[in-house]
């Protein structure tokens, strides 16, 4: 039976993931992998080894450079897609399955700018960054990303909301705007504006921040 490209990629991805987790991958580990259940793993490994993507030593399996490159790529796409799906409200399990299918389909681009935005999105989707609107009263965060038109961005910059500024949420009105402290002054931001400012939440730092009087 012909082995499909996707199946090979799937195995390389699983291997990459295992290596990232600092585990020495064995054939047994791979057979245990949920995502590879339906595949004939041994056959695929044989073919990958023959093509120079991996090396098999006894029960252990290593990725070679060529294989690592592909595995990493697929893995990145997978994370991105899975984040994206769960971000828009799809259930975790479902999101994982969809990502598994789509990761082999999306075109690979060698555009640096795209890569960067990809990273930015990943950061947001990974919930490392939260929209300002999700912060509670009294919480603070560091601005990491401001989306929106040139004018909005410029106006926010003039008023002190720029990447790496420390923002503290002073007040949230019902359905209305948010009042924040930034650069020693307070601003009122409409909900729409506040949902386009992404911050990295400050956790225990609030005690020695400058806004506490």
């Amino acid at each position: 039976m012909e082995i499909r490209e996707e199946e090979k990629e799937e195995v390389l991805e699983a291997l990459y993931k295992l290596e990232e987790e600092k585990k020495k991958a064995t054939i047994k580990d791979l057979l245990k992998e949920e995502d590879l259940r339906s595949l004939s793993v041994v056959e695929i490994l044989t073919e990958l080894a023959l093509d120079g993507f991996i090396k098999v030593e006894g029960a252990k399996v290593f990725l070679l450079d060529r294989g690592k490159k592909i595995g990493k790529n697929i893995y990145k796409k997978h994370i991105f897609l899975e984040n994206l799906f769960s971000f828009i409200g799809i259930k975790e399990e479902e999101a994982h399955k969809e990502a598994c299918k789509l990761e082999h389909v999306i075109e690979e681009k060698n555009d640096e700018k795209l890569e960067e935005q990809f990273e930015e999105l990943n950061e947001i989707l990974n919930k490392k960054l939260s929209p300002l609107i999700t912060l509670k009263e009294g919480e603070s965060g560091i601005v990491k990303l401001v989306r929106g038109g040139f004018h909005v961005m410029k106006r926010l910059q003039d008023l002190g909301v720029v990447k790496n500024s420390l923002i503290k949420v002073r007040r949230i009105s019902i359905a209305g705007p948010v009042e924040i402290d930034v650069k020693g002054s307070s601003l009122a931001l409409g909900r729409g504006v506040a949902s386009k400012i992404y911050v990295e939440k400050e956790t225990d730092k609030s005690e020695n921040d400058i806004f506490n009087e």
Binding site: L156, Q157, D158, V162, V182, G184
Partner: protein, 657 residues
Amino acid sequence: MNRDNKDYDITIALAGNANVGKSVIFNELTGMNQVIGNWPGKTVELQEGYFEFEGKKVRVVDLPGIYSLSTFSQEEVISREFIIEGDVDVVINIVDATSLERNLYFTLQLLELEVPVVLALNQYDLALKRGILLNKKRLEEILSIDVVETVAIEGKGIKELVEASLKNLKQRKRKIISYGKEVEGKILENSKFVENFLSSKNTPFYKKFSLYPSRFIAIKLLEKDEEILKLFKGTEVEEKSKAIQKELEEIHGEEITTIIAQERYSLISKIIKEIEKIEPKSKTLFIDKIDSILLNRVSGYIFLVVALFLIFEGIFLFGDFLSPILEGLLSKLQYFINLLPLKEFYKEFIWRGFFEGLIAGITIALPYIIPFYIILSWLENSGYLARIAFLVDYIMHLLGLHGKAFIPILLGYGCNVPAVLGTRIMERDRDRFIAGVLATLVPCSARTVVLLGLTGVFLGFQYALLLYVLNLLIIFITGRILNKFLPGKPTGLIMEMPKLKVPPLKLSLKQSWFRLKDFIFFAFPIIIVGSFLLYLIELLGWNPYISSFFAPIIEGWLGLPAIIGIVLILGILRKELALIMLAALLHTQDFSLVLSSRQMLVFSFVVMLYIPCIATIAALKREFGLKRAITVSILEIVFAVFLGGILNKILLLLKWN
């Protein structure tokens, strides 16, 4: 703003963010010696005043409160142009000592212009109260400009400020405050390029640039400043700037305007670290406690509703009390006119053609507008208006506007003219236009006279209230429709929340006086001309023609007596007269004898909605241009008549007579 025949020796410009006490300093400097001027062709106000100091006449120009010197708003463009091209001898940059970090962002840009600058550290007392200690000496050293501590509200430091300013006239030589090495290097590279380019061009077009420092041009080019980019379009300067932008963007991995903004802020935080010390205060300031009550999601709204109710109640009580007294006094003037040695016809011509309009302006508009202006100015200075905008932002958002639009619309209940002019507080043309249109739909005091005098008196207060509710509903729907069909997108609220304070009443009285003067000069000629036209039409006997021409609409569609057509048409000239005209035409004050309840309701409804008056149309023209003023006027008339007819049909169907 022409200096050819100048009658002053020195020009000082006041510049700074909004809400830093700029207007207080302006008033301290100039007293009652001021005029509101409009920058030619723009709708930005520039206040100008004079004072004498050591035998010299000093002109002070109060620039609008701005946060930056880019060109994203007219205020910023004008301020920049004025500082450079307006022959300014020294700029006083007023900063709020309680939020120096944000304020210095503007200061750094001002210094990029390489003009003589003196810094006023205003609200110094409040900073101390908040435990903020500032090292003035060190700040002077770092910025290499003079710094004066002021408490403008108490008049403290004003004299020192004047002395420092006059000492610094034309002090252009100063050390340049450099940004980080990398960015500064690129700025210099671009600046050299611009300099070489400009010195190779000798055309008058590029001559203007000799006033602008090349470093400033270089920075603005990198910041993608629209105005300056336009001037260098297609030249090698544009290419060079783009190349540098790209280089910097690649190094930093950020967009270029962000890089430069970050550069300024990081410089500022270094400065702040050196000059500012904060002694944490354990207890919350009293004013901050009040602030939490005013902005609380329950008590804030309760307070807002109560405050608005009291303000309106107060204004209408005051107006209703003062208006008849003024009218009684002014109508005595007729006695003096009758004493003039003129033929009866001329006496009547003078009285009805001129004085009636003038008196109407004084008795109808002023008693309501004066308290409105004073209260509004006080609320504005106290910082409460910004809090109102914060509280109502959500509601205004449903209309495609943001919280700030509430203020001009609120003003509309007093008079639509200042309401339309007041839309200037919004940044974007689209927002201003929607707010302006909605403001004209608000029943002003003249229309309130009709609503209460006809519907309120003859049908009962609840029907007048019903009309007000209908009006709010119509404003709401119109807002949504405009928002949907006008090009562009609604903008979100981005507004500074000034610190709450108790402002001096004196300042509000002064500001109201100047605004009132502006209103009188703008609106009174129009009211008087309108009144004259009204008289002329009557004199020429055109009334029957007008009423028969519009009979199909008035009788057929609205179900009103044909003669009312005259009242509606002429009401555009003088709306508050609608009721008096109606009485004159129907030969009775008791409208219930000649009009059915249905007719009264329909009439009040149409009067409430169709374009307020000729002065409002003129205000629309001043703010939005002739074309839009005419379109709005016509649409509103059609709209009011259309809805009035529908109301008529509904009432007929309900057999409500």
